[in-house]
């Protein structure tokens, strides 16, 4: 009796549910723990089929488990991992941290009385464990999602790095990146080739000056584009157009060095300039022919006159002197023409001070014969004496090119009265030379192209497309001035004209 009481005490105080079930699933025992949790008393449930009270219980499964337990004389289990609960016990008191509506259970079926086919069922409340698992799996899910996002971001970053590298390598320029201390951090493929590096890694860490021939170059002060001589890893040098830009990348200061190799460009420039020179020489020979015709004919006339006068015994000392003087004058003129021609061909080695008006007059004298031949009148108006310190003969070439261009335009447009006006004046401490004609102007659609090399509207046999390009190069690159062109309308001798106006400004 005492032992039975002890068993009752244990059954009623243990923190588990205890049920006795027979093979027909009828309840033979129901402890206090179950009474308090289910609100069903032992007396209410005794001899009742448990599936009648709890229809959610899978009868076939329970019967199978009971059979296994009794056959094997060994426990069988319901685990909370798979079966939310053996039967439905709703929590009415759990308010905080509540994840499940019902109690989660682990259940063990043990053989109790094999002969009478009775099993003892232990019900364990595993809600807290399952809640913890639930929270863990939720945290895991969150971490996995974050990880997934991180991977996506990583992928995006990798893609943008790839894109960046792609862009870096898609350019024609060499691009070298430096850190704040001007140490190389990246270089594109063009750069690797241009600087003759065996690999990208050879450039990393190099100081910016390692790329320049002039090791004392004050690059920090050079913000805009400038030209410099660069040096490769094999100590070869090449001319380049340089830009150093300061930027911020990932909150760090970086310097971007852009290098455009000018070797080919310079070579092409030289070639164009040589071609232009040849063209100019050809034109000059034409001009000389015009220039020489008159003095040569004067010499020839004087000589044959002398010969005739001598034959008829009419030659006096006076006449002889006069004729010889004329021959000398004409010869000197020829000689001067040759000097001018030579000066022009040789080009200028040094800048010199010269008078603008004199220079222009000399220029006009070179083309005087040609202008007369085509019946073109030139008007030179110099407002004041202007002295320039620049390349004299280069200016001559530029002016002759413009005059030649006007001549061609006047002839092409078949203008009746052909005029070229040259007007010089000082404006804002600069010398201005305006040359305009009455050849009706340049069509608007090509006005922006006329300074481009090999651009010509003339027939192939006439134009090379280099004249105005060279003029532009001379004025802007060599003489430090500027040249522009526009179409103007003007009045001359009470007549209205239209024409192109070239405006050259040169530093004083």
């Amino acid at each position: 009796m005492e032992y039975l009481n002890k068993a009752d005490l244990i059954c009623d105080t243990i923190d588990n549910g205890i049920i006795l079930l027979n093979e027909h699933l009828e309840v033979l025992f129901w402890n206090k723990w179950l009474e308090t949790r289910t609100n069903i008393t032992f007396n209410q449930i005794i001899n009742q089929k448990i599936t009648t009270v709890y229809p959610d219980i899978n009868e076939a499964k329970l019967k199978r488990k009971i059979k296994a337990t009794l056959t094997l004389n060994s426990p069988t289990f319901y685990t909370t991992e798979l079966n939310e609960s053996f039967f439905n016990i709703e929590f009415k008191n759990k308010i905080t941290h509540r994840v499940f509506k019902n109690m989660q259970q682990n259940v063990t079926l043990n053989p109790y009385d094999i002969e009478n086919k009775i099993v003892i069922v232990y019900v364990y409340d595993s809600t807290i464990l399952k809640e913890t698992n639930f929270k863990l799996s939720r945290a895991k899910e969150k971490i996995e999602n974050e990880h997934k996002n991180t991977l996506v971001i990583k992928q995006q970053l990798e893609n943008s790095v790839e894109e960046f590298e792609l862009l870096l390598n898609a350019t024609m320029e060499a691009i070298v990146l430096f850190d704040e201390e001007y140490k190389c951090t990246n270089i594109n493929d063009v750069g690797v080739n241009l600087f003759n590096l065996s690999s990208k890694s050879k450039a990393l860490g190099l100081d910016i000056l390692e790329f320049f021939e002039d090791k004392n170059l004050n690059y920090k002060k050079l913000e805009n584009t400038f030209e410099a001589s660069m040096i490769t890893s094999c100590d070869n040098t090449f001319p380049a157009l340089i830009k150093i830009k300061n930027a911020k990348l990932n909150k760090k200061k970086i310097r971007i060095l852009t290098v455009v190799d000018l070797t080919e460009l310079k070579y092409r420039d030289k070639l164009i300039s040589e071609q232009a020179k040849l063209v100019a020489m050809g034109e000059m020979i034409g001009n000389i022919a015009h220039q020489w015709r008159q003095p040569l004919s004067a010499i020839s006339t004087a000589a044959s006159g002398l010969k005739l006068q001598k034959e008829f015994h009419l030659l006096t000392d006076e006449l002889l002197d006069e004729s010889l003087d004329g021959i000398v004058r004409s010869s000197m003129h020829l000689s001067q023409t040759i000097n001018d021609f030579r000066d022009f061909i040789q080009g200028d080695k040094e800048m010199m001070v010269f008078d603008l008006e004199e220079n222009l007059k000399k220029d006009l004298s070179i083309v005087e014969g040609m202008l007369k031949n085509y019946d073109i009148q030139v008007f030179l108006e110099c407002e004041k004496k202007i002295e320039l310190h620049n390349y004299k003969n280069e200016l001559t070439q530029a002016i002759l090119n413009i005059i030649d261009n006007s001549k061609d335009a006047l002839l092409e447009k078949n203008v009746k009265d052909k005029y070229i006006f040259i007007h010089t004046y000082e404006f804002l401490n600069e010398a201005v030379i305006e040359i305009h004609d009455n050849a009706k102007g340049i069509p608007e659609d090509i006005v922006n192209k006329i300074f481009e090399p090999y651009f010509t509207t003339k027939h192939k046999s006439q134009g090379t497309g280099l004249g105005l390009y060279m003029t532009h190069q001379i004025i802007e690159k060599s003489m430090g001035g500027a040249i522009s062109v526009s179409n103007i309308a003007f009045e001359h001798n009470k007549h209205q004209f239209k024409g192109a106006c070239f405006k050259i400004t040169l530093p004083l």
């Binding site: 076939a60 499964k61 199978r64 488990k65 059979k67 296994a68 056959t71 094997l72 004389n73 060994s74 426990p75 069988t76 289990f77 685990t79 991992e81 798979l82 079966n83 682990n106 063990t108």
Partner: protein, 206 residues
């Protein structure tokens, strides 16, 4: 995989005999409970070093198919771990043998529950009989099941604590049904020593 280093020839023969009896009773129990004729192949006994365990398991499972891995601890002097490995197809067929509806079969939890039951039945029937033969007490912990995409997902953090494992493996097959699962009983150093003594005692009594 040298067995002789641990067990001598007599010990091995004796163990094989005991296991044969135990597994024979397991077959009978399954057939009785499930009303289906199941067979367990003659068990093979292997003793391998623990570091090769994963490779061994890998070689036993079908590649490229998710595997259910059910584990159940056996407590007492014959402390060991029962592993039941079954691929998804066999598990589904097993569930059909258990009389589950097709909709239930698609539910991984239902499928897992069936695997737990069969694991429990297999462990209980085989180990209980084995224990009985050896006159020792055993008890069972609730089994657990996991769906693994590969055996590599199995956590074996403490496996290094043991030197050797005895692997008793058998294949469960149901007549006319495509169900194939592998039952492994893994035991470690202390149990191996215990088994050796027990086997010697049985051999002495013969």
């Amino acid at each position: 995989m040298e067995n002789s280093a641990i067990l001598n020839e007599d010990q091995q023969d004796c163990l094989q005999e005991l296991i044969n009896i135990a597994y024979g009773s397991g077959t009978a129990a399954i057939s009785e409970i499930l009303d289906a004729f199941a067979t367990l192949s003659i068990p093979r006994i292997n003793i391998i070093e623990t570091r090769y365990l994963q490779d061994y398991l890998q070689s036993q499972v079908k590649v490229g198919m998710p595997q259910f891995l059910a584990t159940q601890l056996i407590n007492g002097k014959f402390s060991s771990e029962n592993l039941f490995i079954i691929d998804q197809n066999s598990a589904e067929n097993l569930a059909r043998a258990f009389g589950l509806e097709e909709t239930e079969i698609q539910d991984v939890n239902e499928l897992s529950d069936v695997i737990l039951e069969i694991t429990n039945i297999l462990s209980s029937s085989t180990i209980s009989k084995f224990a009985q033969e050896m006159s020792i007490e055993v008890s069972f912990s609730p089994p657990h099941v996991k769906l693994l995409n590969s055996i590599e997902e199995m956590d074996s953090t403490f496996i290094d604590k043991y030197h050797q494992v005895i692997i008793i493996s058998t294949i469960l097959q149901f007549e006319n049904q495509n169900i194939r699962g592998e039952l492994l009983i893994l035991t470690t150093d202390d149990t191996i020593e215990f088994i050796k003594k027990l086997l010697d005692k049985i051999l002495d009594e013969l």
